[in-house]
C-alpha cells in the first residue's frame, strides 16, 4: 500500500460525503504548525467506522487478521471493488471499506475546493 498517507500529527475531519460514487473526503486544514492542507479521498465507499475527528491519520490495507474482523463486523469480503483500509489513528479498529483512496497535499485554505472535490457537490461544473 502506501507510506504516503501517514500523518500521525495532524487532525483530520470528515469534510464531505456524497452518495454519488460514494465519495468521502477527509481534510486536515492548515494550522500555525502546518503550512499545508491535506485532503484524503475515499471513493466507492461501502462501509465506514471512525470518529468524525481523527487525531492523526495513517491509512493502510488491513492484514488478514484485521480483515477477518472487518468482515465479521460488516459482512463484507475484500475484493477488487472493496479494499479494507484501516485508519491507524487510535487503538480502536477504525476502517473504511472503499474502492480507492487518494491524497493531495497543497496550500489551499479550508474554504477552498479540493483538487479531489472540485465543487460544492464534488463535481467540476
Amino acid at each position: 500500500m502506501t507510506a504516503d498517507i501517514v500523518f500521525p500529527d495532524r487532525v483530520f475531519q470528515v469534510w464531505a460525503y456524497t452518495v454519488g460514487m460514494g465519495r468521502l473526503l477527509l481534510r486536515s486544514t492548515k494550522t500555525e504548525t502546518f503550512e499545508t492542507r491535506v485532503d484524503v479521498l475515499f471513493q466507492n465507499v461501502k462501509a465506514v467506522k471512525f470518529p468524525a475527528v481523527l487525531e492523526g491519520l495513517v491509512v493502510g490495507v488491513a492484514n488478514s487478521e484485521t480483515s477477518e474482523e472487518i468482515t465479521r463486523l460488516t459482512g463484507m469480503l475484500p475484493d477488487e471493488d472493496a479494499t479494507f483500509y484501516v485508519l491507524g489513528s487510535s487503538a480502536l479498529l477504525d476502517y473504511v471499506v472503499a474502492g480507492v483512496v487518494a491524497v493531495v497535499v497543497d496550500e489551499g485554505e479550508f474554504f477552498e475546493v479540493s483538487k479531489l472535490w472540485p465543487g460544492p457537490d464534488g463535481i467540476a461544473r
Binding site: 498517507i5 454519488g20 460514487m21 471513493q43 495513517v58 487518494a102
Partner: protein, 231 residues
C-alpha cells in the same frame, strides 16, 4: 515523529514501494517483430502497444514483493486500473520512471490520479455508467466494461473518453427516473447540463454534449434495450 506501523496494518502498507523493471527476455525479439509488423503496415499499432509493458515488481523494504499489473494496485493511490494501454499518453511525468512510463517510480506523492495503463491495447476502453446502488459493478462485469468508481479523476477520464471515438459506453438505465429510455436519459442529461443533478446526470450530459448517445449501449437489468438515439 517517524511513522509507525499501527496494529492491524500489513507490513507492506507503511513503507515506500520501489518498483523494479523486469524486462522480458523476449523483448528485443518482440520489438523486432513489432517493427516488421509495423513496416508491413498491418496491426502495427496494436502490436507495439501491447508490448509496451513487461512485468513490474513492486518491492518493499522488507523484501515483500508483488507483481504489478493492470489489476494490481500499489502506491499512493491506485496507479493501475483496468483499461487499455491506449491510455499510455495520459501518464503524467511525475509517474514516469527512469525506464519509461509504467515501469517504476510509484513513490511520488504527486502521483495521485488513477492511471489507466492496462496491457490490452487491442481492446478499446469500455466504460459503464449508471447508478452505483443499482448493481453497477455487477452490470459492468456482465458486459465486460469498467466503471469509474475507482477513479478519483473520473471527470477527466470521462471527458477524455467521450472525445475518444474508440471508447465504448454502456449506460445502465436501472433506477433512472423516466417512463422510457429516451426520457430517462434526456431528463438526466438536462439536469446535468443545467448544473444540477447527480453525478450520473453530469455523465449523461457529457455523452449528450459529445454527441455520443447514439453510440451507447443502454441496458436494463444488464440486458440491452434499443437505443432511441441511434440515427
Amino acid at each position: 515523529v517517524p511513522p509507525q506501523t499501527p496494529a492491524g496494518l500489513e507490513d507492506s502498507t507503511t513503507m515506500h514501494l520501489t518498483a523494479t523493471n523486469q524486462r522480458s527476455p523476449y523483448r528485443a525479439l518482440w520489438r523486432l517483430l513489432t517493427l516488421i509488423i509495423t513496416v508491413i503496415g498491418t496491426m502495427g499499432v496494436i502490436a507495439s502497444s501491447s508490448l509496451a509493458f513487461t512485468a513490474v515488481t513492486a518491492r518493499s523494504s522488507s523484501g515483500h514483493s508483488m507483481v504489478v499489473g493492470p489489476e494490481t494496485r500499489v502506491g499512493v493511490t491506485n496507479h493501475f486500473s483496468r483499461g487499455s494501454s491506449a491510455r499510455l499518453a495520459t501518464i503524467q511525468p511525475a509517474c514516469v520512471g527512469e525506464n519509461g512510463p509504467g515501469y517504476d517510480s510509484f513513490t511520488s506523492a504527486s502521483c495521485v490520479a488513477t492511471k489507466s495503463v492496462g496491457n490490452v491495447a487491442a481492446e478499446a476502453d469500455h466504460i459503464v455508467l449508471g447508478l452505483k446502488n443499482q448493481g453497477l459493478e455487477a452490470t459492468a462485469g456482465k458486459v465486460g466494461g469498467r466503471t469509474l468508481l475507482k477513479d478519483p479523476a473520473w471527470q477527466d477520464t470521462l471527458r477524455s473518453a467521450v472525445a475518444d471515438p474508440s471508447t465504448k459506453f454502456t449506460v445502465s438505465l436501472d433506477g433512472l427516473s423516466g417512463s422510457s429510455p429516451y426520457s430517462q436519459v434526456m431528463s438526466g442529461a438536462q439536469r446535468g447540463l443545467g448544473g444540477a443533478g447527480s453525478y450520473t446526470d453530469w455523465e449523461l450530459a457529457q455523452l449528450y454534449q459529445g454527441g455520443r448517445l447514439g453510440d451507447v449501449t443502454f441496458v436494463k437489468g444488464g440486458v440491452p434495450v434499443p437505443n432511441p438515439f441511434k440515427p
